[in-house]
Structures are given as C-alpha cells and as structure tokens.
Subunit: 436 residues, 4 copies
C-alpha cells in the first residue's frame, strides 16, 4: 500500500496521446448530440402507458446516437486487452467515463453501460466459444441488453456467502430456485440474458460453493415479480427488478467457467464495474458543482448574490478540492488495474468505491440546498443525480464492505512490513523520555 | 440567549398532568388505528387513475379515523390560547406531535396537519368575524383543507422581500398577478382556500410592502400549472403545486389584518408551523432508529449480526444521543413560545429548525445504509421519511436563513451584554502573560 | 430510554427557587474574585523553580478565595443527600457548575474540584466512621487534597477488568504492587490520600475481583515516577502522575466497603464525576463562543469584519445550538440522577460524556481558528481549554466506551419493548406493497 | 481548473528515474540515522537551562547528520531550476519530503527546513549579487539560519494589506518601526538574518505598498520580546518569536527586488513553502496511521484486540484513503508548479494547503484516541504531531483564505467558460419538463 514500494509508473496518470482525440470526440458527442436528444427522449418517455416499455421514438433516438458514436469510433471503450481488439486501457477509459457521467444517455450510446459492460467482460474473459457467439456478439454490437442477478432479498448479500438461490444439476440441466432483487436492467424489453449467481455446491469449501449461470430471461419459471423502487422511483424502463426463479431449467453448458467458480468470476467483474461507477460519479459531481455556481450567480437575497452568502464560497472550494482528489484516486485505481492487474488493484478499487459516491452525494446535496426548493424538483437533474449516487453507496457492495477490504489490506501490509513495525515500535515505545 | 438570564420556568419541560392521558390516547390511536389503516389506505391509493384525487374508500378511511379522534377528544390540539377554547400549550402539544411523526396519516386524523394548522392559527389571531365564519369554522371542523402560497419560482424566496406577485386594488377588488410554486396541499381536491403572500405596497418601507390575502382556489384566473416534484415524487393527492395567478380578482375585504402587514403575519404563523415540523421530525428519527436496530438484529453477515459489525453500535448510540438532544431542544422552543410568546421565542424556533431536520436526515440515511438495498426500496418507509425530512431543510426557510437568525441574535446579545464583553475583554487581552 | 415511558418530572429541568440566589452569588464570585485573582495567580506560578510546588503567594490567593466562598455559603455543593446536610441536588449543582467551567480556579475555591468530589462522595457513601473522620473531614474542609488511582500504563484500562495492580492480604496488611499513570492531582503537595483500584480476588467472578483501597501518598513504596504530560504540558502542580507501587503496605481496614466491591464503588463515583466534567465543558464552550464573537467583531480583513466573512456567522449559530442542546442534556442527566438514582441514570451520564466534550472540542477549535495565530498562543486561554476538553474525551472512559454503554442500553430497551418491536415489524415487513 | 482542458502531462505524477536512488538514500538516512539520533538529541535538550540555546552535544548531532547527508548528495533538494545547479523538480522533491515528515530533525539535516527554504528561494530568484554572497551562500551551506517576519499581532494578517510595520527611507537607510509575532526560527541562536515585510509606500496602489527588506537579527532596535507559544509549547530553541522593531536602521540596498514588490515576492515564496508543509503533513499522517494500527494490535479490551472494536477498522480505512488522496493532490500541485509555474499553480497550492493539514489533524487525533491516555502523553509523538499540523492550518494563510482563493478561481473559470455555462443553462433551466 505504501506508494514508495510500488512501481513508479503507477503514478503516471496522464492520458495517452492516442486517447486524447477520442476524448475530444466524446465531449462533443455528449454536448452536441446526447444533451439535446435527452430532452426529447424524456418528453417522449412521459407518453408511455406501460412504464417498462419504450415510447415510439425513444429507441430511434438511442439508435441514432449509437450509430453516430459507432461511426465515430466511440464504441466498446470499456474492454481493455480484449481478443476482439477493442477497448482502451482502464486509465484512458477513465477520462472518457468522467464525461459520460454528465448525461444519463451517454454511456449507452457508446455501448458502455452497466451492467452490460461487466457481463461482456466476463463473457470475453471466461466464456466458451459458443457462449461468446450466442451472447457476447450481440452485446458487443449493442443489439441486446443483459442483467446480473446477484442480490437476494432474504439475506445480507453483502456477504456473498449468504447467497441462497440454488442450482441443482438434473439430467443435463441446471434447475434453479430462489429469489433475487434489485436486478438492474432486467426491466428493459431489450434485456435478453442474465448471469445468475447461484449456490451449486453447498458441500464445497466456503468460496467454491457458488457458480454463475447464463439464464435467458424468457426461460419458463423466471417470474419478474415487479420493480424495486429507489426513493420511490422505478427507473423504468431499465428497472431494478424483483425476480423469482421457480424450477428454471437451463442446459448444463450455460455455466460460466465451471462449477464453484462464482467467486472468482466476481473478482473479475466487480473491479471494472465499480471503477466505472466512480468515474461517472465524478462527472456527476462536476455537474453539480457547475450547477451550484450557476445558481449562486443567478439569484440575489439579502442584498448579495447567493454565491456570496455565508459558507457558499467555501462549499464550492471544498467541492472542487474533493472532486480533484476523487478524480486522481479514480485515475490511480484505473492505472493500478492496468499495471498490477484486476486482482492486485482490488484494494484501490475498494478505496474509490468507498470514497467517491459518498463525496458525490455530499456535493450534490449541497447543490440542492443552494438551489432552494427548485433543487428538489423536476426542474433540475439534481434529485436524480442524488438518488443515483446514493444507490451506488449500496450497489456492488456497501461502503462498509469496501472499508473492510481496505482496512484488512492495510493491517496485513503493516504486519508484513518489518520496517513499518520497527519504526513504530521505536517511536511509540513507552517510558522513553520519562525524566525528572 | 444566555440561559442564566432567562426565567427558570423556561426549563420546566415536563408535560402537564392534564395532557398525559391525551398523550396515551394519541399513542393508542396511532398504533391501533392509524398504523393498520395506513396500509389499506396506501393500497387503495394505487388504484387511482387521476393522481390528484382520492380512490374510493380512501376518504372513508380518513373520515373514520377523524371521527374516532374527535370523539376521543383528540382534535385541534395545535391551537394554544384560542378564543374557541381549544388547544394545548405548545409544550404539551410537542409531546403529542412526536407521536404523530410516526405515521403519515396521524396528523390529519387529529386535524393537526400542515399547512392548515398555520392557516387556522392566522385566521384565529387576525381574521375578521366574517373570515372566521367563512373559512376558520370549516377548517376547525376538518371539512375543508387549505394552502399557503408564498414561495415563487423566479426569485430567491428565502428573502421574503423578493416576493414579486402583485395585488393591486381596483374598484374594491384585489387583482393578483404572479406565479407561486411548491404550494403544498393545493393538489388536494378538498383544498378550498389559499392565503397568498403578495406585494401590495411597493412604495412603502421595506417590511410594509407585503400583504396576505385570502383567495378561494376556484377563483377565475387561478391556474394550477402542475405538481412540483420532490425527488421525483408528486406527493399526490396533497401535492406541491405550481400555480399561476392571472388577473385573479377577490373582494377587498379578503385581505388579512390590513395592507402591509404580510410580514407581521408571517412572524405569527411560522413559529408554530416550524416547531410542528421539528416535533414530527423527531418522531421520524425515532422510527428510523427502531428500524435500524430491528434490521441489525435480524440479519447476519461475516459471522456476526449486522448490528455488531463495524461502527453500527456507535451509529445507534449517536442517533439516540442526537434524538434526545433534539427532543429537549424542541421542548425548550415550545416552552419558550408558551412562556415568552411567539416573537421572543423566534430564535429558539430557528435553532431547532436549523438543527432537527438536518440530524433527522442523517439518522434516516444511516438507517437506509444499515438496511442495504431494501433501505432504498418501497419495502420500507425510509425513503419517504428521508425525502420528507430533506424537504423540510428547505421549507419554511432553508437552514441557512435560520442559522443567520440565530447568529445575528447571538451577536446582538453579546454586544448588548456588558458582562459578556468585559469578561472576554479581560480574558483574551493580548500581551498579558508575555513573560521573560 | 423512550421518554414517553419515563416519569414526566424527569423533564422538569428548572433550577429550584432555593438555588437561584446561590447561582447569583457564584456568578459574582467567579467574575469579581476568581477572574482577577487568576491573573495574579498565574503570574506568581511562573516564578516557581520546582514545578510541583506552589510559589509564595499562590496558596494565599487560593485560601482567600476559599475563605470568601465558605463565608458566602458556597461550599461543597457537589454532594447531594449527604448525612452532613451539605450539598445541592445534581440539577441545581449543574447550573452552578456551568459557571465554574469559566475559570480554572473556580471549582477549587468552592471545594468542588475533581478528583476530590468523587473521592468525598465515595467516602461519604461507603466509608467507615474512622475513614470518614480521618479523610473525609479534612477533605470536606478543604484542608487536604486527594487522588484516584485507576488507570494503568500497560493495559487497556477502558476495560476495567484489565486492571492488574495487585493487593494481597498479609498479616493484616494489604501489600500492593503495580503501576498506575495519569493519576490527576497526585502532584499537588497538598495531596495526602489516594483511593487505589486493585485486584484483590483474581479467583472471584469477573466483576468481584477488584477492590478499592485507601493509600496515604507518603506510604513507603509509593514512588512518583514523574508527571505524565498532556500535549506536552505537565499541568503542575496538580499533575497527572505516573506512580509505581512496590510492596506498599496499608492496614487491612483501609479497604473501602469490603473486598471485591471495586466495581460497585466505581458505579457510584463515576456518575457525578463525569457529569461535573460535562457541566464545566459547557462553561468552557460558552466562553469559547464569547471569545469567537469578540474576536470576529474586533478585526477586519478583506473589507469586512472577520465575523462577517465566510462561514463564521454559521459557525457561531451552530456553536450556540450545540451548546444549548448539550446544556439541556446535562441538565437532564443531572435530573435523572436526582429522580432515578445514579445507577438508573447511568445511560444518561454516558450520553453526555460521549457527547459534550467532543462538541466542546469542536467549538473551541473553531474559536482558535477564528483568532488566527493568537488563538494558539498564551495570549488566550483557548489552547488550555482545548487540551482540557480533549483530555476529557479519554478520562473516565473514552468516548467509545460510553457509546457502547448507550448502544447496549438502547438495544436492550428495544428488545424488551414489545411495542417497539411490533411496530417496526409491521412497518418494515418486506413484500408488503409489492404491486403489479 | 477543468482537468480536461489542461496539458495531459500535468497528470504524470511519477517520480523521475533519476530521483529514485535519492529517495532510497533519504529513507535510509531518516531511518538509520535521524531516528536514533533524535532520541539522544531530545534527551540532551532536556538538560538546557536557557531554552533558546542548544545543550552541549546537540549541535554536534545535527552537524554529523548534515555532514553525512551532504556527503551522500542529499542537500538543498528544495530548489528547482537554480543557477547554482542544485535542486530537484518540485515533483521529485515531494516524494522525498513525505519521508522528511516522519522525523522532526530530518528536514534540517538535508538543509530543507522552513523558513530557510523559502528565504533561500527568494534570495536565489530576486537577490542581488551582494545579497546572495552575504546571505544566500551561508544559508545554502547550512552555516546560518534565517527567519521571515510577516505576521503582526495587532491586525488580521491573513489580509496582507493590513500589514502596518513601516519602513521609511532616511539618509540612505530604511528606518523600520512596528511589531511582528510568530516569527518562526528567530529563537535559534544560529538565526542571523530576517526578511521583513514592511509598508514602504502607503500612497501607492494597494498591491504596491509593501516591500521586503533584509534585516540582520542583531541590528540595534530589534527586540525579541519573547516566544509565542503553541498550545503552551515554546518550540525552543527554534521558537516563534514576538519581535518589536524600534527605529531599526538598515542600508537602502537591503531591500529585495525594489520598493513596492513585497506582494510579488510573496507569491514567489509561498508556493514552495506551503507545498513543503503539505508534503511533510502526509508523512506525519502516515506515521499516525502506522501508530494507530500498532496500538490497535497490541492491546485487548472486552475480549478483542482494540483494532477490532467498534469503528476502528473503518477509521483505519478512511485514514488510508484520505492519505492517498492527499498524496496525489500534493503530487499534482508539485507537478503543476513544475509544468505551469508557481503563479499558475497557485490554486493547486491553495487546494492542498486547505485540504491536507486539516485531514492530517483528523487522522492524528484519531490515533490519539485509539492510544487512550498514552496518546496525549510524552510517550508518543502524537501530541507534537497534532500541534504541528494544527498550527499549519493557520500558518502561511489560514484554511479560510485558501478556500477563498480556490472558490474565486473556480467561479472565474466557470464564468469564463462558455461551455460550462451553456451546458448548465440548458440543464437547469426552469419549466422544461412541466407536464400535463
């Protein structure tokens, strides 16, 4: 953990020359195309009768943006070192993802939206040729969408060992029974495939009991009970669905990477997923900061601009400082994934997952406060931004779990370092200076 | 401000003997009748097609609860020292209001819900006999509901001098033009009357320019543009409405207390309204604390009950401490209103308005975190509770305005106190102990 | 814990009529006599060569103040319900103790300073007639001073079961061996007697292993190794001494209340001691608030008074709010001790011990910041005030231990309350509102 | 401010290959020589009779360490791009300065201690040949020490325009009158020269009224009134002196860079000085983190290691995260100074000055708490570390001034950026989604 002992290049957080023009293109894409389109997209959405559908015109808007992005070469950036030859380094991608956080449609228009990115990375890394052909290909093309079914309503899922949905092998088929919730994206009519975390091997050692299995969403026995809400919102049509599995049967070969490797796959997927969240969190915090300045400059009360009242200028300063610190930490975590690999970089990923959404929430909350009642209303994006960031403090592991990862790593590093232990021992030894 | 200089009785925060049986009745009313009814009420609400209406059965549930409360003598507690003989002291009412915070229907069933309480108090204090007959009577009977139209979308309304909706006297009628938003309760089909803050006298001295006028909601020219959202919720059918006034005409005698007395009336109404909010905030925080303990005891992760993990026990302790501190502060502010009067108690009211909802938000947020994803969902009341408390940090004056009131009072008290100034002068004088 | 279930009188926090004139006298005593005397007292102190002594004139100043106080009837207020007929209720004493926090000499001039107060209360409650005659009498007269030797350098003393200093009965004498540190007051040449916490009965059940024994400080084998510092200060001549006990022999009858009752006595003593700390903490925070206002009004920068810059006014408001909340909580804890008894009031005492010094530290720290460099210097009392309050966050149990007491009580109360458990169960039950 | 618009190389925070072996040497120097020497050095210091002197042996210890460092090439690292050919880039120096923060002697042994570094940089940049020969040369050789006299006791010096010490030109000499305090290093008997900020041109425009003048400390009329304390410590022999200037006369040519350039010089000096403080702050926070882990692992209470109790593990995680974030921010500020120059980098410097010491204080405070009473004692370095970091929150500009710099820059950047303004305008425009 002590930076001094890590390779110096870890701290080279500069974007590569090659990526710079892509970033410029992305900025233009978001500003010139996603931003105007979003307004229309939202308006159309309000005409739906079935919330878990798209209104006429909505998918066309998305389709146009995706086609444009693809043509510009802005596609599938999220996937580093892929056989397919696509993708940027995590570090370069980070710069781009900051920008994607500023518009709710932007990620999808570049085929870089969760949970597809994680699912595609898993399929690319551990999928069989058949699995790739059947599912990875249309995902990489942006033709279908996917979901990842992990969390369960009846157990503390932050401890993945608690997962209790079962899959039993019967006559060449996995038979799945159980209940999952907050399955993001499963409400989208375009969602065709789920990766489901299940317990296959209850007798195995603790971390070999779980597996991940591909389950087409239209498999009989898959029942979408309803949408889970977030602060009363259903986030339709994407949705965070409550799903019941009753004797759901899929072929034996739908298992990913083999029985009992569920935890291993999680390690693989969660790094990138988490880091992408944090990158977008920063984009969102930047946007909140801009909004608070704009609002502060546009209104007056008690004879001064609102920005000049009370602690508002200090709030702005603190927001800027925290954003820059978060940005550098995210870049560092991305760089760590590039240089050290996903596994070694895990503690850096946990650091930013525990740090960034919490700070983004605070900044957005302050922006709301500076807006007065309008800050809570549908006239700004702030409430959506807040609810999104608040959710991320629980998604992919609550803050507490990530703090535990960081603290355990720190403790181990301390115990493993003779230098650190000796220096402290010397320095905090009792009775040293006891004098008259 | 210095407690030592205030009457000792200010610190007698005990509920009166007389009120105790009422409190017991209220507790039973909420637990035995409101809680079960709320579930059914919510279920029925989901069948509405027009959100700003009541589903068949909903008003009957409310009506039954109100009838029951009235019969038990649990009615109009909020109005101290009224000619009508109704009402408890603010202090006694506070104890009851804590309980009302635990169920969303409870306040209304006792005819103690905002903004009617403030409107009734204003009418009772400054209304003419005709105004009382026409509007106060049905309000006190719980037959109609009301709204208070103050905040405007185009100015920083935290500085009430910015209010720009105009009322001009023409041939015995006030002609009103302007725009208001976040007019809570104006979405309810039972809402019949609004008190509207308007600028009547732009040439008068600063704090004599505004007046308050009674405007029946069905007056021509009153256009309900739509509901303002709070975190995406419309809070239908109550609603926080966006209202446009276009050449709205009401009789000259609809003015309250006379031209230019708008600010005076506000002083009157905002004390009780704010203190009631804070009382209910504490009830809400208590409920969040109970929920976090219950959740922490009901689940396990990493080999221990969730309540025993990490900082959770300390979070519970801090919540309990802050709740008790907030409770005593609210009781003190209520007592100050009883002993010193609304005007002198103003700084105590600002203290709790700036303190209590902020702390309630924090406690509810921690309860959400301890619940995991469920804490954000419709399966608990926590998101509604959070959004409610977050809103109160802006309603009736943002925290910042109340901090300004407190700080200015403190500064004045310091400047006015020879004792305080002299002691400090002596103690912090430079150069005193400069030694060899 | 739930206030609604406690006796209403618990919330009567008003000072008694009888105590009011005493408070006025104390205020005058501190302002008119202690404050001027303190300056001279400090100046004299700088002439000492042996820091653990008094300079000529210092004890005379103290003696005069004590004589004056005694004559005015301001003496031994701390001891409620004593056979000696002295003492105020905890509640009345609290009002007086707030004032004592404003001057470093004040407590001692009223014979109300730690650790004597705790020692006197213990002797009064459980001492034998001989013990009272020998030690309590001169203490009550302010003729000698005393210490309480509990904390040990080599174990985590926050868990009192860790105490390892031993006392073995040999031929009618307790033979004591071990090491104690941070023994406050043991540096004072007037300190004659210590109450020492020892392990006498290692075979007994956990909470019956410890005893408390009276040890005259001049007993052979008592070695004062040196003063423990607090932020580099030795707090001479009072001092926080490091003491080694080597075969220290005292008569068998020096034990207090009998073998194995050490924990019971601690319960008794720590309530009042802790609450007195907190009362004085509030006086200290009040003083810091006055100083920050005075400083903010006296200097200008960037064209405005410092008090008007940035968040300073909000800092003042938050300080006032927290002080009032802390004051009410301390009054409530004092009242709880009066009404419920020390044992039942324990959780209230832990609440304020965990709450008040932490908030006082924050307020004093902010006052330092508003003073610029002078705030850290010997030209103000602020650094001393900070260090004192910071120390109290560790003395008599660190914050963490008190939070644990509060949280455990809260958890038990929740588990014991059918009402609380049922209401939560109903309200947070999963799957309730799952809709179509 | 928006990273996307800045040169990519700004984010290359990797230490240069060339500097790596120097860093390794410095680590070894601190660990193998400074750490053992410090203990002896402290012990000797306690034998002094005159606190503002060195005990026999102390200067020899320092001299040996300095000679050793010089021989190893570890000398004058702080001075980038100097004519003398010495010095590292700010970025490379930052890595080294982190290590210097871990031992109180380390900086001086490399001739890198404040305030000499700032004084040397100023002399190197704007000194005349004579000034360099007379003062810079012995400073660079570590033969003498120096001070910078800026802050005044009677004005809010955070606004440098308030500086009121005057210098009037009379017959070829500057005649200086006024009072300065907290002049760090002026207590050291080796301190020979001061740079004094004075008002020379009260009629000039605001930022041209001040000048900086070289004043040998033994000039007649320079009176060292006494040491200013920090939390009661005099930090002897270094000291923070209170100095009175009474008709102090120095030759006209002692002015630096010309009359009225005082502010310009300040801009120059304060960047590096502030960044060096922050680098060492991080070293100090790292040390506190190590100490808290060591303590947590070494003691048990309530049946578990202290590190496993309550929130301690989360505290460790948060400390690690904040340290890494601070480290990256400091590296970024150093890099900004290298790439953009001191002036353009100013906002980055203010960001870290406002961020890092505040967070270091918090981490050290938590380490104290985890140590129990020992954490406040002379048995650990923690109190010294805390007081040092707390002081830095006021030295070289209080946090508030730096937040103001950051906020003003942010506001200007927003106002200057069409893109930012337009995007926000579009996004937060009222009335957009007003629906049916």
């Amino acid at each position: 953990m002590n930076s001094a002992e890590l390779p110096a290049e870890l701290n080279n957080l500069a974007m590569s020359e090659a990526a710079r023009p892509l970033l410029d293109k992305v900025i233009a894409h978001v500003r010139d195309f996603c931003d105007p389109a979003y307004e229309e997209y939202e308006r159309l959405g309000q005409t739906r009768t079935d919330r878990f559908s798209y209104a006429p015109g909505q998918l066309e808007i998305l389709g146009d943006l995706k086609a444009r992005a693809k043509k510009e070469g802005l596609w599938n950036f999220f996937l580093p070192n892929a056989d397919t030859g696509e993708g940027l380094s995590n570090l370069d991608y980070a710069y781009i993802a900051f920008e994607l956080g500023k518009n709710p449609l932007a990620s999808e228009t570049l085929n870089c939206s969760a949970p597809d990115t994680g699912n595609m990375e898993v399929l690319e890394r551990v999928g069989t040729q058949e699995q790739k052909e059947r599912w990875l290909k249309p995902l990489l093309n942006g033709e279908i969408r996917s979901a990842f079914a992990m969390t369960e309503p009846d157990v503390a899922s932050s401890d993945a060992r608690n997962i209790s949905t079962t899959a039993v092998l019967e006559s060449g088929e996995w038979v799945i029974n159980g209940e999952k919730y907050y399955i993001s994206g499963a409400g989208d009519p375009r969602c065709k495939i789920m990766i489901v975390m299940v317990k296959t091997s209850p007798e195995a050692e603790t971390f070999r009991q779980q597996s991940q299995i591909l389950v087409p969403i239209d498999t009989p026995g898959v029942e979408i009970v309803g949408p889970m809400h977030v602060f009363g919102q259903d986030h339709a049509p994407h949705g965070h669905m409550h799903i019941r599995f009753t004797n759901v049967r899929v072929p034996e070969e739908n298992i990913l990477w083999g029985e009992g490797r569920g935890f291993e796959i999680s390690q693989l997927r969660l790094g990138p997923g988490r880091i992408h969240h944090c990158m977008r969190s920063i984009g969102s915090a930047e946007k909140a900061l801009d909004m608070m300045i704009a609002r502060g400059l546009s209104r007056e009360a008690f004879g001064r601009k609102i920005i000049d009242l009370g602690k508002n200028m200090e709030t702005i300063s603190r927001a800027r400082i925290e954003i820059e610190a978060c940005r550098l930490m995210v870049l560092k975590a991305a760089r760590a994934m590039d240089v050290l690999g996903n596994k070694e970089a895990r503690v850096w990923v946990s650091m930013i997952k525990a740090m960034v959404p919490e700070k983004a929430c605070k900044i957005i909350d302050e922006a709301m406060q500076m807006h007065g009642a309008t800050g809570l209303s549908q006239w700004t994006d702030l409430p959506d931004m807040y609810m999104k960031q608040r959710t991320i403090r629980l998604a992919d592991g609550p803050d507490e779990v990530h703090h535990a990862v960081v603290a355990r790593a720190e403790r181990k590093a301390f115990e493993a370092s003779n230098t650190r232990r000796q220096i402290v021992a010397k320095r905090s030894q009792n009775h040293v200076f006891e004098g008259p």
